[in-house]
């Protein structure tokens, strides 16, 4: 028995068993998808390690692109199809995004391009040299406040002027 056939057989049996025992078609579907993934992996099974040496046509880059280019999208499509086929009694609803009380969040409250990388910028602040300007609100009632940050380009604005004076 080839590994591929054995894989499909065992997983089909598992799918039937779990589908019958658990009465959950989605659990059975997931097992079938995992089996198909294992079987698909079995078809493209290659000898370990020495492909680049034995057959120069097989470059690791091409294999990687092949795996990413076929494996992830095919599996994603299968999982997507599985997710779209819900058991009869379930339903899909629409609601508000969870935001700890901020029910109607606006674009002004969302993360921006400069606020998103702040944790990384803090860690590498010595190397990046980010300028920050913060004018907090004054008084008891919410008043005008300002925060701005600017990270100079490490190559063009910090590296090049040192290497090429007068630029």
């Amino acid at each position: 028995m080839t590994p591929l056939a054995a894989c499909v057989l065992i997983l089909a049996a598992a799918a039937v068993l779990s589908g019958g025992l658990l009465r959950r078609s989605r659990a059975a579907g997931l097992i079938v998808i995992a089996g198909l993934a294992a079987a698909a992996g079995d078809i493209v099974r290659l000898p370990p390690g020495d492909i680049a040496v034995n057959a120069p046509v097989w470059s690791p880059l091409l294999t990687a692109i092949g795996l990413l280019g076929a494996g992830v999208p095919i599996l994603s499509a299968l999982l997507w199809a599985f997710r779209l086929a819900p058991p009869a009694r379930t339903k899909t609803g629409r609601g508000l995004a969870l935001g700890c009380g901020f029910a109607a969040s606006s674009a002004r409250m969302q993360y921006t391009g400069s606020s998103y990388p702040v944790p990384v910028i803090r860690v590498f602040s010595v190397l990046l040299g980010t300028n920050e300007e913060f004018r907090p609100p004054k008084g008891y009632w919410p008043a005008k406040a300002f925060f701005g940050s600017f990270t100079p380009d490490p190559a063009l604005e910090r590296g090049l002027p040192v290497l090429v004076p007068g630029i």
Binding site: I51, T92, R94, C100
Partner: protein
Amino acid sequence: METITLVLSYPIILLLAPPVMLGLITKTKALVAGRKGPPVLQPLYDTIKLLGKGAVYSSTTTWMFKLGPVVSLAAVFCASALAPLAGAPLISFNGDAILFAYLFALGRFVTVMAALDTGSSFEGMGASREVAFSSLAEPALILTFASLAYRSGGLCLAQMFAPHSGPSAAAGTILVLGTLFVVLLAENSRIPVDDPNTHLELTMIHEVMVLDHGGPDLAFILHGAGIKLVLMSALLVRLVLPEMPPAAALGSLLFGLGCVAVAIGLVESSMARVRMVRVPQLLVAAICAATFGLMLTLR
């Protein structure tokens, strides 16, 4: 025999090992705290329950939000085909270690995109922290892979994690093991980097990103996270396992996964989550340990 073991190992590792490992961690924590704790198979029951449920989607979300869980699970499935588990991996080529690391990165990328898609500032915060800490965990992982690659003479996971002995191996292996364990804790959002049990707290990282997911989407995310934990633990176990026949290798791998789960449970029982500002220091320490490991291997 080898074929049967190989065929058996993948369903076990992909379907059963993730919930059992998560259940063992919870059980260990409960026993240390003097409680009885939920059954070991509780995560499996949760996943099956979630798969049968409907879902509520935020009105601000688009297809990206639904794509996140699907692609992240597909990415870890593909990564599992590259990992050496009981025997040789399903797919193996020179350079697969890099693809393995970046399939995890692909999974993280789509999870982050799905979190940002909700438009909730809360989930944006989680996404921002997740990428910040993973950008520090990644060099540690790559440096570890570099020392293993130098030792084995190829960037192939099957060779890198094959049983290895030699005078220079021991010291380097201990550092590599330590680094991999810290990276495992960070990548799988465990204590001391993140607390998987906190919900609705401003201190959390990974959990905050998946708050809006429910039903089958949440089941995909939880199972994908479980597979990721199992794969990284399997690499850790493979480093210390000696050469043995496939059936014994599968048995000892499963035993080793159990030991890693108990170790994670003990770590989580004995210490609290470190402060957010200390997490980069922990990860930089892991990078330093990985660098020393590489130096010892190059020596």
